[in-house]
Subunit: 548 residues, 2 copies
Amino acid sequence: MTVRVIPLGGIGEIGKNMTVVESEDGIVVIDAGIAFPRDEMLGVDLVLPDFSYLREHAARIRAVILTHGHEDHVGGLPYLIREVGVPEVWATRLTLGLVKAKLDEHGLNRAAELREIVPERGVIPLGPFRAEFIRVTHSIPDAVAVVLHTDDGTIVHSGDIKIDHTPVDGRRTDLARFAAVGDRGVALLLGDSTNAERAGWTPSEAVVTRSLERVIRDAPGRVIVTSFASHIHRLQGVIDAAAACDRFVCVVGRSMTRNLNIARNLGYASVPDGILRKPAEIAELEPERVVILCTGSQGEPLSALTRIAYNDHPSVSVMAGDTVIISAKPVPGNELAVHDTMNQLWRVGARVLHQDVAPVHVSGHGSADELKTVLALVRPTYVMPVHGELRHLVAHGALAEEMGVLAANVLIVENGACLELTDGVVQRGANVTAGVVFVDGLGIGDIADVVLRDRRQLSADGVLIVVCQLHDDAAEMREPEVIARGFAPEGAGDELLAEVQLIATRTLADVAERETKIIQAHLHDAIAELVYKRARKRPLILPVVVDV
Amino acid sequence: MTVRVIPLGGIGEIGKNMTVVESEDGIVVIDAGIAFPRDEMLGVDLVLPDFSYLREHAARIRAVILTHGHEDHVGGLPYLIREVGVPEVWATRLTLGLVKAKLDEHGLNRAAELREIVPERGVIPLGPFRAEFIRVTHSIPDAVAVVLHTDDGTIVHSGDIKIDHTPVDGRRTDLARFAAVGDRGVALLLGDSTNAERAGWTPSEAVVTRSLERVIRDAPGRVIVTSFASHIHRLQGVIDAAAACDRFVCVVGRSMTRNLNIARNLGYASVPDGILRKPAEIAELEPERVVILCTGSQGEPLSALTRIAYNDHPSVSVMAGDTVIISAKPVPGNELAVHDTMNQLWRVGARVLHQDVAPVHVSGHGSADELKTVLALVRPTYVMPVHGELRHLVAHGALAEEMGVLAANVLIVENGACLELTDGVVQRGANVTAGVVFVDGLGIGDIADVVLRDRRQLSADGVLIVVCQLHDDAAEMREPEVIARGFAPEGAGDELLAEVQLIATRTLADVAERETKIIQAHLHDAIAELVYKRARKRPLILPVVVDV
């Protein structure tokens, strides 16, 4: 028999993590994440993995396992359920709670059976394999690594992992369990590579908790803390610090309120009685008794912190004397938005602390020495670095070699690669279809390259529309009409548009042909040349020819 | 008398540094920089300070002083000369060399008198003031701080400054001269705030030089180093290391070649005989004898390194076994482009080193303890932090207070603020016009907000054009034509466009009015509503009504 391991996302990129593990008896999918669009993906809302391979084999899908509740691991689930179908979803209790809320929003609350992972229960049958789960620490509670025992060898997927020995909830990464699995022999490790380039050991969440309490205790006025809405332990740390400093807590931002409620209901967060206040009540409290927890750590335009900073929030505004803590790191690409928010907060009189000037954030991913520790315990024959851009995967591969994995057994692959595990030996099979699918408004699908190219051209230089009427009777001919949008040759602009009109008139007179397409081509080329020569601009040029 | 200090750029932002210092007898401008456009400034090529104030007082301008040759300090000079006029430009020899090349490109080589700053010459008359210049270290050679002695007090402008005690050319920041100026009393210090949030002391360029030599010595194959084209000392360090390791050097990239030539001709760089090779000759050399110096440290799409990485360069390509050193830091906003280039280099078999994994870059700006050292020497009565976003200015202000400057004398201002220095006392005057002017293609001027808004809408959802013909004779009426570009409702797309056509037809039939503008408004609203309802998209909708 052969077990096939096929990453459909998360390799060579940050985001949309998804890995297929299958035997003849069925398919298990580990994670179903989304990625956020890059700037050049103009107008795109979300990015999904290409589900083609799963769609072709939909009948064989037995279960989806979710390692934890972050969007880059669970965000694609509603789309996968709707487009392909999933019989069972396995996840720990908190992850299930977050996923349920998400499926409800999509009207999919009965579309798949939700089954709870309890790591303490040991090995269980799951689809065609026997599975066990190992608790790991990460920047969201209740994260697990996945162990799949197959007849051809054991496969370990680390999920997103950090080795935090002093996590807020006391539930450490279960190193002894990794060791026990390693004792029995592991064929293949799929390991989180996000921080593989960082030397040393990522500091514990306890460092941040202590630092936040110090800042809150010393703050002369209100304290506003922003973090990821799903970082329940960070929120708990802030709530505990507020309680210790005799301050009330106000949670602002839909996703944070929802996540905190889910976490409380499921026993993952505890909020002292009477400490919570509604946003509308803040104004009545003395500033030195207030902590505000809010969304917006990435400078998102419609988030709570951004609206608060720009005085655009219905019930909260920032005041001189406030201390604002950005308890997060900007995701690459969001730096400028976060800097803007910080500067605006300073402008209105707040003091702003962020990770570069105070220990108010730590990563949720293990650094090099943590990854080596995992390798030392699991002792895999093969390693496939996952969750990272190529440079992270390569760095993780180098760590694996340092830890004794044969260079030939370090598998740096790409999305769609197929690893075939047979009797403990891994070989490369033929790649399957993998790629990106864009969610754009209500549509899901491939936005053709031509559309993105048009959007890029439109975004840089706008559009020039030239409307011409063709009359059989030359006496009836009218001047072409020129419409410019997003095109700004300023100053000389009107002059240039007049020139465009003139050259269009002349082109119409010159072209003997009456075929619309040919006239359009001539108009397009003449106008494009003129505009580039005069203004060094390349707007999208659309000649409209009306044959009357 | 009163001396007025007016920053026109560089306050509350990184870039387009420019400060006016004037008395009744004339105006001196310190620096004339540009900024690079942000992502939301769609289609903009460059950003200039608003020259309105200088245009109004053009006749009184006596000189522009350039503190060093970086674009954010000199890039606006050609525009200032062309739009306003400048009689004299003062700068050190290397800065003049770089500026001459720039003015030649703009056909302005005789438009202003170029005068050389020689710091060793001491105090000289300059416009209405007496000026002296102090050598400072920075990430380009021949940088200076400016001291303006006026009847109302002495003003010191640090320029961009770092206190590197072991610079490549041995020309240290002249701390003793700062002390001597401080001894005689300084009313106002304008100080570089870029790294004010960073604790400690920025490492010396010598650290990088040593590290580069180690990497080049140990590299098994070719070494490709990218850095800023103007960072002459970094280039010199690489050339020296190559010479020490018996390697040839090949310089790739127009701006780097030009800058290195200028620096060599003026005695700011020395290249051992016979070490340089042309790009076309590289293929003939053994890999372990090659160092390639190239542009592209910011992941710019058309730069040498990007083209090399994507195998799009006419004479250089990357090979397995190459070591690539990114000897620079991504400017905020360029992170993703730089990461892309790094990943592509790994993909084709190179090893990539960057500042997060090896000491291959240091900043050119002093950290907190360096700024405090400057404050300790200059001992100014007033401090105006410059060169930084608001958070940097505030951090610099806090350092000034720690160094004994009165809180009320720390002046955190905005572009266009006017500081009036009278007999050693600074007061705030009325603000002058300040802001941004966009260079877009060949045009210089204000791109109206409406144009950028259109471009944003076009970039997100494209454009829908609906062409309708109005005939007096209803029997002659034709179906409206719908043209979509950059609009992608995929799948249901054609269906939606058919619906748009239908609703346009119906709207035309319903509107009794024959006034084109009113018909267009009805068409616009009906189509916008339909498209948003069906696809949650908001394309730019342009109804074209042709009255036949």
